[in-house]
Subunit: 178 residues, 3 copies
C-alpha cells in the first residue's frame, strides 16, 4: 500500500501543476505560469516552440489579444515512473478565447487540444520538463444574443481582483458577497 | 505521509460534493443540491445572492425554464487548511442549458464560469460555506440539424427515472439494458 | 485510514479506465478500448446495445466516418462498494466529432452524455461490467473561419504517430520537439 500512496501523492502534485497552469493563464499571472515549468523546461505550442523564458515572453502579448481566456481541463491520465522521477501526463483541454474582431464583432475562438507532458521530479517537486500541445480541432464563431450579464453577476477578472484570491478570508455567514 | 493521506481524503470529500451538486441540479434532485451546503451557507449566483434555503427556492423555477441542463465540471484546484478545517476550491464549469424560445426554436445557452468556494469541515464532514460563481462567458445559439436521437438511445432524465440510480443493481451479464 | 486509502486506490484504478477509454477511441486503438471492459461486459450506446466484442466491431467503422474525435470527460463521481467488489461511476462527457459532410463542408457534431457504469473488481482489477450512455444533448454546426492550423502545430493523430506515446523518451533539455 505504501507504493500506492506514493503514486497518489505524486499524481496529486502533478494534477495541481496542471490546474495551476490554467489559473495562471486565465488570471494573467505569468509568474504562476512560469512556476509550472522547470527553468530548462520547454513548450511546443505550435505558435511558439522553445524554452520557458521565451514562452512567457510569447504568451503575454498573445493573451492580451483576447478579452478573456478559459483553459478548461478534462481527462487527466498520468503515468508516474517513481524510481526515475519522471511522469507522462496527457490532459485534454478546451481553450475558450473571447475577443473582438477588427469590425468590433465579439467572437469565440475555441480550440480542442491535449497537453502532452513529461514531468520531472527534482528535490521532491514535480514540474513540467517538456510540454507538447497536440491540437485536435479549432473553430471561431461570432457571439450573438444572450451573451451579456446583469450588473449583479460576479465576473472572472485578470489580476488580483478575482474572487478566487480572497475566498478563504473569513466572512460573516449568510452575508453573501460581504 | 500521514498528512498527505489526510489531504487526499479531504480533497476526495470536497470533490464528491462538487460533483454531487451537478448531479442534484441536472437530475432536479433539490435535496441533493441542498446537502452540498451547510445550513448557514451562502451562494452568489449573480441572479441570486443569499442563503441556501432561498437558493433552493430560486433554483427550482429557474431550472424548470430549461428542457435540460448539464453542469459540466473541469479543473478542480483545492487548497485545504487542515488545522482550521477550511478549504478553497476553484472549479471550472461549462453549464449547458437547452430550452425552447418563445417561437418554439430550440436554443442552447452555454455559460463558462468558475465555482469559487469556501468549504468548511464540521464534525468531520465537508460542505460549502460560501459559494461565488465567477462568470467568464456566455453565448446562446439556435439548435439546427443533427440534434435528435433515435428511440433506442437512453436519455438522461430528471427525477428517479434516470439510469444513474439503478446501475448498481445486479443484471445478468451480457443482457445489456436488461 | 486504511479503508480510506483502499477507496482512493480503487477510485484511482477506475478513473484510469475511464480516461483510457477516451485515449483508445480518440487514438483509434481498439484493443485499448477493449481492455476497459470485462470480456462479458456490455455497452448500451443507443446506436449499439450488446457485448463488448460486438461493440468493438461496431465502433471501428463508426469512428472512421469522422476525421477525428475528442471524448472529453468532466465530472467523475464514483461510489465503490469495497466488500462486493463493485462500483458505480457517473462520468460527464462531451464528445466532439469532426467530419466532412456529403457536400464537403466541415461539420462538428457534439454530444453531451454521461457514461453510467457498473464496474467490477476481479482478481484485483477494475473494469467495466456494464455501460449505459445516457445522452443529454447533441448539436451539429458547420465549421467556418479560423479552424486551420499552421504547419508548425503538432496535431493529434490516430495510431502510433501521436506524441502521447514517445513523450517519456529522454530528450535533451531545451531542444523542444527534438
Amino acid at each position: 500500500m505504501d507504493e500506492q500512496l506514493e503514486l497518489l501523492v505524486a499524481e496529486r502534485a502533478i494534477h495541481r501543476v496542471l490546474c495551476t497552469y490554467s489559473r495562471g493563464v486565465d488570471r494573467f499571472d505569468l509568474e504562476l505560469v512560469r512556476s509550472c515549468y522547470w527553468p530548462d523546461g520547454t513548450d511546443d505550442h505550435g505558435s511558439y516552440i522553445g524554452g520557458v523564458d521565451g514562452f512567457i515572453e510569447f504568451v503575454a502579448p498573445a493573451l492580451q489579444r483576447f478579452d478573456r481566456t478559459n483553459h478548461f481541463l478534462g481527462n487527466i491520465l498520468i503515468d508516474v515512473d517513481l524510481p526515475n522521477g519522471a511522469a507522462r501526463a496527457e490532459t485534454y483541454a478546451v481553450a475558450y478565447h473571447r475577443f473582438h474582431d477588427a469590425d468590433g464583432q465579439e467572437q469565440d475562438m475555441v480550440a480542442g487540444l491535449r497537453y502532452v507532458d513529461r514531468f520531472e521530479r527534482r528535490e521532491g517537486e514535480w514540474r513540467i520538463a517538456r510540454r507538447v500541445c497536440a491540437f485536435e480541432w479549432r473553430r471561431t464563431d461570432p457571439v450573438g444574443q444572450g451573451s451579456s450579464f446583469a450588473d449583479t453577476y460576479t465576473r472572472g477578472v485578470r489580476g488580483s481582483g478575482d474572487v478566487v484570491w480572497p475566498i478563504l478570508e473569513t466572512t460573516p455567514a449568510g452575508t453573501g458577497r460581504g
